[in-house]
Amino acid sequence: MMEKEIFIQRGRVISVHAERGVIKRAEERRFEGAGIRVIKGKKMGFYFTTDLKRIDDALRKAEEICDANMEDKDLKGLPDLGKSNVKGIFDSKIAEIDVSEAVEIAKRIIEAAKISEKIYSISCDVTLSHVKTEIYGRGEQEEERTFVGISSYITARDGMKSSTGMEMNSGRSLLSVDPEFVGRKAAELALMSLDSIQIETGDYPVLIHPLASPNFIGFLVSAAANAENIQQGRSFLTGKIGHLMGREEISVVDDGTLEGGVGTRGFDDEGVATRRTEVISSGVFKSAIHNSYTAFKEGVESTGNATRTYNSIPSISMNNVLLEAKGIEAEEDELLSMKKGVILYSTDDTPNLANGEFSGLIALGFLVEKGEIKSGLREVGFGVNMMEFLKKVELVGKKRRSVGSVIAPEIRVSSMRLAGK
């Protein structure tokens, strides 16, 4: 018996890029393509093409590749189709937008960033996309999704001093982004960092800003709890189901059904209905995120986390990741009330997947003394193990913020090793 799956994506992406306060590029990409999977017994073949008129030809090639392949005993066929009822993933304004409107958004970011003579250089990006996904072969499914992402990267200078600031917003509707905020906030952060200091090496309480949360809890779900990485022994969470990873108030959830989420979709890229998966439940590592291959290998259900483009076989990634922490939520004042602590605003680093060690450099950070932000930080390294990270959480903010598909509060950890002078 042969199973087949035809995955089609068609769409349009508009992007605008500005540098030094001037629009440098305006681009439009239209694409369509099909990826075809064929499974016969324990063998799979895959072929992709941009020529949708030749689907039959591509199907034949996929079958040839399937015949040429070797058996994989863990391959157990394609999953059942399903669809969750999700809201807020399509905005007709984005689907129909003219590029001149995208340019206007970029200009608004640039104008909002001009808050001081010390603002030296303003860069920003605006991306708008409209993609339709269709899956055929075992029944039919289709869904249209839109996305908007805006970001700014700003340099401030004062004499010999130079600093940078950044900010971003994303969502599935135009209303979910605020160009003025993204421009102004990045500029404010750059100005705040002009006077930056090195601190003494030592252990400090650290407040992790939502902007850095993709590198912490985003990584925890998308990479460490990724069933493929676990099954291959690449992740430090291999063999750790049932282990205590954090205090009992804390849960980390992947949820593909959240209204308006950047990672929300009715079905994943294999046509499996999305759902809510408790990855860490009351502090305990409970479930990996799966696609059908890794799920069937373990004899469990897919969690609806298959991700792909038409030219690739499905892999696994997060939908929307949320941190829940009932009972240890606090207002901004209380979060900042550290005698001497640090705000880790952003980092470009990610943890070591093999051992969970996260040693990196604070890209944007501030020193806090007696509850007040004192100055920026320069060349400060940090180190924490991701198995211990959620055990060290003292408080989290009441407010949540979405940064890409991670929806996180501010997170204060009792102590982190910081390397400075």
Partner: protein, 446 residues
């Protein structure tokens, strides 16, 4: 509408410069994990891209239909205001096919699958818990037309095989990677059996390595790490678009001394290397450039836009990832050229660190700062390699390192790689002989 008609059409509608590219790409990929094929896939993609310049503003679009793209690009260009520039440059014509011994499209998928599994078995030795083989071949046929009169066509084959080994012992995991590839054919696979074993053995050896000491040391840098260093820390700063954006520590330094005893080259014309090509994505012919000669900065790498702005000729470094992306300034095969020292002589130091391979790193081209994590290293005492080291980090200022180069070896070696910039990934080669540096800061973050 054919490309030449499309150019006339766009010029009639006011465009000052028009570029049309068409690409046909075919790819085959095999990914093997612990002897099991996890991906066996093939595919083909094709499409056009159109780039126009109008009143100093660029419009770029890509998709399947040429006429629609010309209209769209003009509209995109009109949507904003740029600084007035005039694109000047030579026109090129001709066609080229990269020469390979065994064209990958003439090797059956069965054979590719079987060979990858065999290579994987070679790496599955004792403490290696996980061994991956990634094989990719591709053929890219590209045509470039522009309003300066360029009309070129080329077909380039690329084949690459990469190995990653994860060895485990008592809660410790160590990883080692090896890779071979070029603008070559299936012969790459036939030559890479030993490389699979090297990756596995190195991962196992690293299990008994010690942490590296921190501090300033005299250092020997192996060709892999020196190659990545010269690409990341120096090469990007020598890309003219970075210079024009005020993001390069090399701005205003042409003719100045930036290093000692060192020649740095970017050369897409070396046959068979991964970053080689005849014509860049703007249709300009690629050529060998001495970026640094005898320690003196000679020039930057350019595409048509940066060369027009700076009043020089394009160096043929305008490259695009595919038809969905516009050409920007990119490196090709970038390396420190060979010197005259033997490795024995280079290693003859009283106390120092020999840093090898490259895991990852960051650079700040604007400030000239860098940090790299090497895969491994050795502690050197009295010219002897006395202790194996793991995860050696080096950090510092790019120009300080170049000024502190004491010796450059004879043993120039190349490694294939993929370089990312502005979301576009292109095949490149990094290269260097062994070099010895008077003083390097080790340790970095820890």
């Amino acid at each position: 509408m054919d490309p030449e008609e499309a150019i006339s059409y766009a010029l009639d509608l006011g465009a000052e410069f028009v570029e049309i590219r068409h690409q046909k790409i075919s790819v085959t990929e095999v990914f093997v994990v612990n002897g099991v094929i996890r991906r066996l896939s093939s595919g083909d993609e094709s499409g056009y891209s159109v780039r126009v310049l109008l009143d100093g503003s660029w419009g770029f679009s890509s998709g399947p239909s040429l006429k629609e793209l010309v209209d769209s690009s003009l509209k995109l260009a009109k949507s904003h205001k740029g600084e007035k520039i005039e694109i000047k440059g030579r026109s090129f014509s001709g066609s080229y096919i990269s020469s390979v011994k065994v064209p990958p499209d003439q090797v059956s998928v069965e054979r590719k699958a079987r060979d990858a599994v065999e290579l994987c078995k070679r790496g599955m030795i004792n403490e290696v818990r996980n061994f991956n083989v990634s094989y990719v071949d591709g053929a890219v046929e590209e045509e470039v037309f522009n309003s300066i009169g360029t009309k070129v066509r080329q077909k380039i084959y690329r084949t690459r095989v990469s190995f990653s080994a994860y060895a485990h012992r008592a809660g410790i995991t160590e990883r080692a990677m090896e890779s071979a590839g070029g603008t070559r054919g299936y012969e790459v696979v036939e030559e890479s059996a030993e490389l699979a074993e090297t990756a596995a053995k190195r991962a196992v050896e690293l299990l008994s390595a010690k942490s590296a000491p921190a501090g300033k040391f005299q250092a020997v840098i192996d060709p892999k790490l020196a190659g990545v260093f010269v690409h990341e820390a120096f090469g990007h700063a020598a890309e003219a678009d970075e210079v024009l954006a005020g993001m390069s520590v090399l701005e205003g330094r042409i003719g100045q001394r930036v290093g000692e005893n060192v020649n740095i080259v970017d050369d897409p014309t070396i046959e068979g290397l991964y970053g080689s090509y005849k014509f860049d994505s703007e249709g300009s012919e690629g050529r060998r450039k001495l970026i640094v000669e005898g320690g003196v900065l000679k020039g930057f790498m350019h595409n048509l836009e940066t060369s027009s702005k700076m009043g020089v000729e394009s160096t043929g470094n305008g490259r695009a990832m595919d038809f969905r992306n516009p050409p920007i300034v990119r490196m090709s095969n970038t390396f420190i050229d060979r010197g005259d020292a033997d490795l024995d002589e280079i290693l003859r130091i009283k106390e120092g660190i020999y840093a090898m391979g490259s895991l990852y790193g960051y650079t700040e081209p604007a400030k000239g700062q860098f940090m790299f994590k090497a895969e491994e290293g050795w502690l050197i005492r009295n010219g002897e390699l006395v202790e194996k080291l793991r995860e050696v980090a080096i950090a510092g200022n790019t120009l300080d390192i170049l000024r502190n180069i004491e010796l450059v070896g004879k043993d120039l070696r190349f490694s294939p790689g993929t370089c990312g910039k502005d979301g576009q990934w292109v095949p490149v080669t990094t290269g260097s002989p062994h070099i010895r540096v008077r003083e390097v800061v080790f340790g970095g973050l820890r």
